[in-house]
Amino acid sequence: MYKVMIIDDEKSLRNLLKMTVPWESLGLEVAGEAASGIEAINRIDEIQPDIAFVDIQMPFMDGIQFSKLAIRRYPDLKIIILTAHSDFAYARECIGIGVCEYLLKPVSRAEVREVLERILRKLEAREPRQEVPVLLQGNENVSRIVEYIQASYQDPDLNLTAIAQKFGFNPSYLSRLFKGETGKSLIDYLTEWRMEKAILLARQGSLMYMTAKAVGIPDPNYFGKCFKKYTDQTYTEYVKKLKKP
């Protein structure tokens, strides 16, 4: 069973894809979705997709930017660019960066199926990658990583894989190492750190979209979701409450 991630700012398209494609019969499952490139960067490590549908036109971080980043970090990821005719010249740029498939909007089910089957054949022909067992090493590295996170949380590209590549680890190994040392997943730690910083900014009355940018999640919608999840209330409510007393 291969995992699919849908990255598109159009909720309708995400839903349509989910509903109209016979995923199971193809041997696929939609493991997650994201409404922007920023959200995708933050969620891709936990979803670990094999295939990603990427809309070329998204706010905050467009599909090209995201794909460049994703191909660098996840060489095995199969990216399907969703584009409209008028963007086609733009989409050709992606050829240079190794994007393998295109789907022209509006997408038809047959085309989606065709593209997916092609990708599946490639995935099945691929040699399964050997997981190299790595010895767990002391917390020296982890404390360096924590420092690194605290220093560069404002970088919107920052995620588990980015940190792992930076320190020369295998991402899943790093994940386990980090959890073993701190009791928290690295992804959660990064988000929590960002949210703590956000709360500080909220107390200063900073506007949400500015706070979002300041803490390295420049997509205010996704930031809003994270903030609500972390504090159980929306950013606006949080700011209002602070103002009241």
């Binding site: 159009e10 909720k11 309708s12 398209l13 839903n15 349509l16 509903m19 109209t20 036109q57 706010p59 905050f60 409209a84 005719h85 008028s86 909007k105 509006p106 506007l207 949400m208 979209y209 500015m210 979002a212 997509d219 205010p220 919608n221 930031f223 809003g224 950013y235 606006t236």
Partner: protein
Amino acid sequence: MDGKWHVVERGRRWFASRKLKEKVRILFLGVITLYVLLFFFLYSFLIQKNMLEYALESNRSTMAAIGKNLEVELETTSAMSQLIMRNRDVVEYLKKDASKDPRLAYNATVAVFDISNTFRNVSSIYLFKNNGETLHISRGVTRVDMAVVRDPSWNWEIRQKDGGYVLRVDGDGAFSSPSGEPLVSFLRMVNDIETQQPLGMMAINLSRGLLDGTYSEMEGEGRQFAYMDPSRGWLWDEPVDLGGLSPGDEDFEQTHGGNWWRPWIASCHRVPDTPFVLAGRETVSINRFLSAEAAVSMAAVVLLTFASLGGLGLFLSIHITRPIERLSASMDQVKDGWLRRVSIELPDDEIGHLKDRYNNMLVEINRLIEALLEKEQAMRQAELEILQEQIKPHFLYNTLETIGYLALQGKREEAYEAIETLGAFYRKFLNQGNPEISLREEVAIVRDYLKLQKLRYEEVFEDAYELQEDLLEYKVPKLILQPLVENSLYHGLRPKGEPGIIRISVYAREGMLHICVYDNGVGMDQATREALLGGENSKSFGFKGTLDRIRHFCAREDVVEVDSREGEYSRVDIRMPLERGGTGYVQGHDHR
């Protein structure tokens, strides 16, 4: 008076409407005509008048001179008669009885013949003695009627003269010439010198040469003379047209006539002590009064004048009318719609400068037209880009996907409404050939647009409208509102990540129509605002194009005010003058 003025005015207009060349021609024709008229006026009223007076005086003296000539001739004849009378042989012949001595008659005849030979015009000489004897000499044949000669009533007058002479044409019937030519008879008595008793009578018949000789030198050059005897009529001369004069009444009579260029003078002169009247007629010709040199110099002046006029005309033609004509012909090409430069060669004078300036003007006009065309094209381009922006697949595809999802969810009502709205939006959006539409339609397009966008970004925004109803019929460039609203949605509200509002207001203030799009999105800092107004990035290009179209439409620069506070709101305020020349604001009583 009115009619006269009308004619003058019409003539003036006619002249004014002529071409330059024709005007110059007409002017020259006028000058030449005036010149010729003036010349003839001077000739006929000044020169001719003096000339005629002079001619009349000259005629009078000529006539008198001829009369004098005749008198001289007659005195000569008288002298001849004296010579004959005093001749010894003649006296002897007259005193003695010649019948007894034939030598007496012979000697007298020889003497008379000798004397007569020294005089001209003598046709014959007769001597009639009292006793009836007759002696005569003759050059031609002359007949004599002795009965008449003996008639006392015929010779009574001669006897009475007592030494004087009597002139009679053909001797009043006594003599005649076989040729029929009249003779002038000079008749006198011959007296004895000692006793003063009459010895006989002498008749000298003179031929026409006597009379002809008096004027032969004067004739010619249009002059004609003739003698007449008032009792007998014209003598042997050709009759002269006297122009109504009746000869013989006065000693001298004169008349003149004819037209101004060929006057004639007729006159009669009674020659004293003779039965003759001299008649004369002359035609006055200018060359008698104008010397050849004067005529030549006059002609030269006239010719020179014409030549200078011609030269002046030629100069005008070469240097003014022809270049202007060519320039005009070249400029006429503009009529065909081509603003072509005049490339003909013209002298470097005012006309050449005219051409240069005209060319400069053309260059300027062409430049302006080009600029205008460019501007117009830019306007169309901007309009087209906004159309493309919306027709472009994203909006349509995304909306279709949204509708598709609604359908799959089983939201039939919503799906149908969305399709309906989408249809309405595109109908209004595309089906506008006219570049101007009413504000009401603009707002309707935006309402549909936002309704469709709300399906996609439900949580993002609300829309609100504050519209002054009576302004909604105002005509505006089409699709000015939608780009502003789109800008608010994508660059104001969405980046904020919080629910917001888009408010569209239409109101009038201080003679200006305000169309205001407000959103409480992220707002803009100074740099972003300037970039937006300047069209400096691709995202705001449509916005700048919209402003340019509004500027073009209102023909003014100041059409927009962007007000914003970062993180709080932005407001784009479009203002257009309510009063526009001709088209524009239509009072909106039609409340739909």
